[in-house]
């Protein structure tokens, strides 16, 4: 029955490709010289990376006074950026693990790049809490190890410790998932290589993969295991990130809606980022036959779904504040919408709830520049969401005498730009040196939705 259902669906891969052609289409751009466009993109992103590196070096050597924080607002830019980047990463795991468990075969064209995005986003996220500690050279103190200070152990009742465990587990498991998925393709690069250094290097990283059916069987099982482990993991990670806020008693943070609200927001922003990167990558690497309009269409539907959840959460927050009868809660939400940062709040609502409504229209979903613009706006909106949640709640808490305002310094802005530089530099290098599309997986779905010729198995 599954076979019959698949035959009625449109094909996943455009064009009448042979399996050898898939290898060629994905590997040839990597073996050719990089295009001028790629060099320009790398130059721009690595310049931002350098700017960020200089900003980080400056703030570490001078001290935390270079930030716009004050005694009222102890968290602002760094934590906003941290939550933003962690959220971006979650769409990669959604595609690689959750959609795998749901047998969404279209994910094969995008999962490699989406997983790469996850890893790079977590790396960007990791920078911020580390510099936010103020003394990043002591960051290893977060790890529970016997030490000469007592032993002075960490406090396992703190959500910040939970966060440390969640993020480091998430990074490790995502990186392993990515690498294991890549083994067969690295073997392909090794076998195709004409240059000796390329063969040696790819041979080293492919670990001597030979495609024996026993190896494939274990490989498929480990892939399923990691998808099964990755699914609860990704949900736990953003849940724990939301607990960084929700376990505090601050109005606007202390809410049970936070975990689902944050997880949906994370997948929302991450999907938008995946789409942004895919639209760039399919153009840069000429992969329009693999990442088709139908792939973009499906991802757009995920964006509109999560947008609806996020919009519902915004409404629920207001209702909860009203219904709670707590004047502090009510004040915080009125202050968000009408206070000094009202423009940030309405940017967030506009970008996250209003703009994505355009995706209801099939013609918008099929028009790539429009999708690209919407996705950029969604990411702007999701950045503002975290900024508004963090800063408005802190800046006006219970006692008006505590109230203060916050504005980022140039150093903080440069660090944020630097994280974008790191992200895009890593992604561009990834496009050059690693197959952007999971070659072996695409070969398995090549005949989906196409009339069988020689046999159903090919």
């Amino acid at each position: 029955m599954a076979e019959a259902a698949i035959a009625l669906r449109p094909p996943l891969i455009e064009g009448d490709k042979s399996i050898a052609q898939v290898t060629h289409d994905v590997c040839a751009p990597m073996e050719a010289r990089p295009t001028a466009l790629w060099w320009v993109a790398l130059l721009i992103s690595s310049s931002f990376l350098l700017l960020g590196a200089a900003a980080i070096a400056y703030q570490i050597s001078v001290g935390v006074g270079t930030w716009g924080l004050n005694r009222t607002i102890g968290w602002a830019f760094d934590i906003t950026n941290f939550v933003f980047w962690i959220g971006i990463g979650h769409a990669g795991t959604l595609i690689s693990a959750i959609l795998f468990l749901f047998r969404q075969r279209w994910r094969t064209s995008v999962n490699r790049a989406a997983e790469a995005m996850t890893i790079f986003a977590v790396m960007c996220a990791g920078i911020f809490p580390v510099i936010h500690t103020g003394r990043p050279w002591f960051a290893y103190w977060m790890f529970p190890y016997p030490n000469t200070r007592g032993s002075l152990w960490i406090n396992f009742r703190s959500p910040l410790v939970w966060d440390f465990f969640a993020i480091s587990t998430y990074f490790t498991v995502s990186a392993m998932f990515w690498f294991i998925g890549m083994l067969p393709d690295l073997a392909t690069i090794r076998d195709r290589a004409t240059a000796k250094w390329r063969r040696k290097l790819a041979g080293l990283f492919s670990l001597g993969w030979n495609g024996s059916y026993r190896a494939w069987q274990r490989y498929e099982v480990v892939y399923l295991m990691l998808a099964g482990l990755g699914t609860p993991l990704v949900i736990s990670v953003h849940t724990i990130v939301s607990w960084d806020f929700a376990t505090a008693v601050l109005p606007g943070w202390h809410a049970t809606i936070f975990p689902p609200y944050f997880v949906a927001g994370a997948i929302f922003s991450g999907m938008a980022m995946v789409l942004t990167l895919m639209i760039i990558a399919r153009k840069l690497m000429r992969l329009e036959d693999y990442i088709t309009i139908r792939h973009i269409d499906r991802m757009c539907k995920l964006v509109i779904t999560t947008s609806a959840i996020v919009g519902l959460s915004y409404g629920t927050e207001f209702f909860t504040a009203l219904y709670s009868g707590s004047s502090y809660e009510q004040f915080v939400f009125l202050n968000r919408a009408l206070g000094p940062l009202f423009w940030g709040y309405w940017t967030m609502v506009g970008c996250n709830v209003v703009v994505p409504q355009l995706l209801w229209f099939r013609r918008v979903r099929a028009y790539v520049p429009a999708v690209f613009a919407i996705c950029i706006l969604v990411n702007v909106g999701m950045w503002f969401e975290r900024f508004i949640i963090i800063v408005t709640s802190l800046s006006r808490d219970f006692i008006p005498a505590n109230w203060f305002h916050y504005a980022p310094t140039r150093v903080e802005v440069a660090t944020l730009l630097g994280s974008f530089g790191l992200f895009f530099t890593l992604f561009l290098l990834f496009c050059r040196f690693i197959p952007v599309i999971a070659v072996a997986e695409v070969k398995g779905v090549l005949k989906y939705g196409k009339p069988p010729r020689e046999s159903a198995h090919e």
């Binding site: 042979s18 399996i19 050898a20 290898t23 529970p144 007592g150 032993s151 002075l152 152990w153 406090n155 396992f156 009742r157 410790v161 939970w162 465990f165 969640a166 480091s168 587990t169 490790t172 498991v173 392993m176 998932f177 294991i180 083994l183 067969p184 392909t188 090794r190 076998d191 195709r192 670990l207 001597g208 993969w209 030979n210 495609g211 024996s212 059916y213 026993r214 190896a215 494939w216 069987q217 274990r218 490989y219 498929e220 099982v221 480990v222 295991m225 990691l226 482990l229 990755g230 609860p232 993991l233 736990s236 072996a440 997986e441 070969k443 398995g444 020689e454 046999s455 198995h457 090919e458």
Partner: protein, 178 residues
């Protein structure tokens, strides 16, 4: 100098269907020590040769249990025995707070066990494997499908096995030096 022994005989096919049929026939013929190499996973190959046992899930389960137990016991020991500190009036053994790190440690250990278990069971990293001595084997990761009968098989015979493999309609048959 050691004389080069034979590792096996390798037949090359140009479609998965041909490989599956050939694998079934070879298995029926009574060859037990055989293997197949494909560019992407094909379930029917395993069915044709009959390899069903897989230890990866067991390794993952053990890893997860070890991770979860060690995560919880570590927190219990640190928070109640080695370094009891009163935090917000919470009990030293505040188990609900410990669930989170326990969960993450379970996932971490299970994931690491799954990956390294798979690599170990597959014998990876493998710096040398005789199949790569056949130059056409480079296409096994592209679009060709290979079947090998190992020389260690009881029924193996340099001439008879080659004749048998050639009767299956392969693109080529090659001897694999070890």
């Amino acid at each position: 100098m050691k004389t080069t022994a034979t590792y096996g005989l390798m037949a090359e096919f140009d479609s998965p269907r041909a490989l599956i049929t050939a694998a079934e026939k070879t298995h029926k013929e009574g060859y037990k020590k055989i293997d197949a190499y494909t560019p992407y996973p094909i379930e029917e190959v395993a069915e044709a040769i009959g390899f069903h046992h897989n230890n990866v899930p067991l390794v993952t389960l053990i890893g997860g249990i070890v991770g979860g137990l060690s995560g919880y016991l570590m927190q219990f020991w640190i928070s109640t025995i080695d370094y009891p500190v009163n935090i917000g009036g919470k009990p030293y053994h505040s188990w609900p707070s410990f669930i989170i790190v326990t969960f993450e440690m379970t996932i971490l250990f299970a994931g690491i066990s799954a990956v390294f278990g798979m690599l170990a069971l597959n014998g990876l990293p493998m710096p040398y494997h005789p199949v790569f001595n056949v130059s056409r084997f480079a296409m096994a990761s592209k679009d060709r499908f290979f079947l090998i009968v190992f020389a260690s098989d009881k029924k193996y015979d340099a001439v008879a096995t080659r004749q048998f493999l050639e009767s299956l309609g392969p693109v080529s048959v090659a001897e694999v030096p070890s």
